[in-house]
């Protein structure tokens, strides 16, 4: 691991387009400013697992669709499939 010593206002560069600047230092924390190109995601290390959860969460409607949401509502309302009556078929003319 490369270790660098920096003061407030100083920065380091990663490649051509990413700059990390030290904005403020307190007793236990460092405030950093990150400048990066729009395509580079910047996140806190501890949110990595959460990012995977969120990607799964957005799959809920994509993979299950409206029917999946209806099933979910049924579960939430504690109704079994058997007790939900199908809507009446439209009458023939």
């Amino acid at each position: 691991m490369l270790v660098l010593r920096r003061r407030v206002g100083e920065a380091i560069l990663l490649g051509d387009g990413i700059e990390i600047q030290v904005i403020e230092i307190s007793r236990t924390r460092v405030k950093l400013g990150v400048t990066a190109p729009p395509g580079v995601p910047v996140s806190r290390r501890e949110t990595t697992a959460l990012a995977a959860e969120n990607r799964q969460a957005c799959d809920l409607v994509q993979t299950r669709g409206a029917a999946g949401v209806e099933d979910l509502l049924r579960l939430l309302k504690n109704l079994s499939q058997e007790t939900v009556k199908a809507p009446p078929a439209p009458a023939d003319k």
Binding site: A51, N54, A57, L60, V69, L75, L76
Partner: protein
């Protein structure tokens, strides 16, 4: 009369909303750091579900529940960073329902869903700024059982 605009959603169709009713996520959501604007959508027939539809990506739509629906004893814990991102005063606890809305994102889990109450999506109702409050480092997973009850996972 306030200006209205429409947003398309792959799941919800065309959404008509008043200007200024989007929520703003200064940091996006983990995994979706470039999604800064979302639209909360409540469909009366589907209460208490609340959809979080991206204002910029048609296919991106989360399904959530108010955290108190999952666990009525839910207590919100915000880090200093979360409070700063939400523009909430650090000297008092925000009141759920008055100051903030706390949503639990639903994650597919077999035939059911689960959620992590350790990382609720928190919306400041006064300015519509929003963060996913993961700064407290908590993990509290609940799964919706077949009887419609939420069970805490170890």
């Amino acid at each position: 009369m306030s200006e209205r605009r429409t947003v398309n959603s792959s799941h919800l169709g065309e959404i008509s909303l008043e200007a200024g009713s989007e929520i703003y996520l200064p940091m996006g959501l983990p995994g979706f750091e470039h999604e800064h604007r979302m639209i909360p959508v409540e469909i009366p027939a589907q209460r208490p579900l609340i959809y979080l539809q991206s204002a910029t990506t048609e296919a991106l739509c989360f399904v959530s529940l108010p955290a108190l629906v999952v666990n009525p004893a839910f207590l919100l814990q915000l880090s200093d960073d979360d409070c700063a991102a939400l523009d909430l005063p650090a000297d008092r606890e925000p009141c759920i329902g008055e100051d903030v809305l706390c949503l639990a994102l639903l994650i597919p889990s077999g035939n059911s869903v689960q959620t992590n109450l350790g990382a609720p999506v928190v919306v400041n109702l006064h300015n519509l700024r929003c963060v996913q409050a993961a700064g407290a480092g908590l993990s509290a997973h609940y799964r919706l059982a077949e009887n419609g009850k939420w069970e805490e996972l170890c």
